[in-house]
């Protein structure tokens, strides 16, 4: 009998990791509290990761994030945590992980961490094990990113460092910027940096924030939406490799 496309498609729709049971992990997006772009990225990434089949808990400790609508995407849950420091965030991350453990889908806790909260201690090992920075292409933001990476590693020596390039107009420009950043990071012995792609057309992400709708729903055809999906795919891929 002929093989129908539908015979194979439905087997993995809604089952992206083929039934593997992965333990909840956490990803810390390092950004200043007033960084609206980071809020937009965290929010859109959380939605995109949920759309790609993960059970995502978004721990929001910062007031501006509490304004965003919580229920636009199935699989995404919010945990409002009045944390004031890394220890408070760590408790919230643990609580979110416990909630995700009951989910049949692999779980990921996404949390935004102000760099000023980075400090050595047990909480650092829980919250900063996997970090992500949004980095512009110029020398100054690259230097700032390296400085933050240094502080992360001082607080958690085994932390994984990741970066997403933004404020660029093309993939080629992003590649140049990341290559320079990775080289500078290695030269200053700040550990190895993993690439998590590029965000394009930052303004679209701001618009999604203003519209209070994830970009994947607001403008799915936009280049920015594809870029967010690509970043989420890279994160999801590494998450599956490490935990699976």
């Amino acid at each position: 009998m002929a093989r129908e496309l539908a015979d194979v498609l439905h087997h993995f729709l809604g089952d992206p990791l083929s039934g593997e049971r992965l333990g909840p992990a956490s990803l810390a997006l390092l950004s200043e509290p007033e960084d609206a772009f980071a809020v937009a990225v965290a929010w859109n990434l959380a939605h995109e990761l949920a759309r790609q089949g993960l059970a995502v808990a978004w721990v929001t400790a910062l007031a501006d994030e509490e304004l965003l609508p919580p229920d636009a995407t199935p699989g995404l849950t919010r945990l409002l945590a009045p944390a004031q420091d890394l220890s408070g965030l760590s408790r919230a991350v643990s609580e979110a992980s416990a909630k995700l453990a009951a989910s049949p889908a692999p779980g990921l806790v996404l949390v935004r961490v102000p760099p000023g909260w980075i400090a050595p201690g047990p909480a650092a090992g829980r919250v900063l094990a996997w970090t992500l920075q949004l980095v512009g292409p110029d020398l100054e933001p690259r230097g700032r990113a390296i400085s933050i990476a240094r502080r992360v590693l001082a607080a958690c020596a085994t932390a994984r460092l990741g970066a997403v390039v933004h404020e660029v107009r093309s993939v080629r420009e992003a590649e140049r910027a990341f290559t320079a950043l990775a080289r500078e990071c290695a030269e200053r012995s700040e550990g190895r940096l993993a690439s998590y792609g590029v965000l394009l057309d930052d303004a679209e992400l701001y618009r999604s924030l203003i519209a209070r709708r994830p970009l994947a729903l607001l403008r799915p055809e936009a280049r920015a939406a594809r870029a967010v999906a690509d970043v989420a795919s890279l994160l999801r891929s590494d998450f599956a490799c490490d935990v699976g």
Binding site: S170, V171, D230, R236
Partner: protein
């Protein structure tokens, strides 16, 4: 939702995902009887280059890769006939046929085989669900083939190279 309706939606989802690739792939035929078995989709890019699109379940990518190579060989000599039957398609028969293998994940051996054949012959794309009935394709970029004796590759997080599925 009826089974028929769901089938239509799933096919539409994959066709839509092909159109969102760079360059986009437009489906020109579905469920084509090729050599022994059927080809899920046949698609063309804006320059007329033709791809055989096969979907593999998890764990079936390696045999489907072999099947896809056979279907490529079957389809390539038929393209001039297709052009005569449907001149508006303007298929670039001289460029041969590429295999696009779609799967939720790929075995290292399938990746190594695709690398050895080169992106002009075979491309691999991960199938990512988007919501209930939508899907997205992520093309795997060419990289060094994994020799059979090499230990498992390290975690991608340890890579230092720039990664993205996007293109300018």
């Amino acid at each position: 939702m009826s089974a028929e309706r769901r089938l239509q939606r799933e096919r539409l989802a994959l066709r839509g995902a092909l159109l969102r690739l760079t360059p986009p792939l437009e489906t020109i035929a579905e469920d084509v009887l090729g050599v022994v078995s059927r080809i899920d989709l046949v698609a063309r890019d804006p320059d007329g280059a033709v791809s055989v699109v096969l979907v593999a379940q998890a764990g079936e990518d390696l045999p489907r890769l072999a099947e896809g190579l056979a279907q490529r060989a079957w389809l390539a000599p038929r393209l001039p006939d297709w052009n005569q039957l449907a001149p508006p398609l303007a298929l670039a028969a001289e460029r041969g046929v590429r295999l696009l293998l779609v799967a939720p994940r790929f075995d290292d051996r399938a990746r190594a085989a695709a690398e050895a054949l080169g992106p002009d012959q075979v491309r691999l794309a991960e199938l990512l669900p988007r919501g209930d009935l939508d899907v997205e394709l992520r093309l795997l970029e060419p990289g060094p083939a994994v020799p059979p004796t090499q230990p498992p590759s390290p975690s991608p997080r340890r890579e230092t190279g720039f990664r993205t599925g996007l293109r300018d």
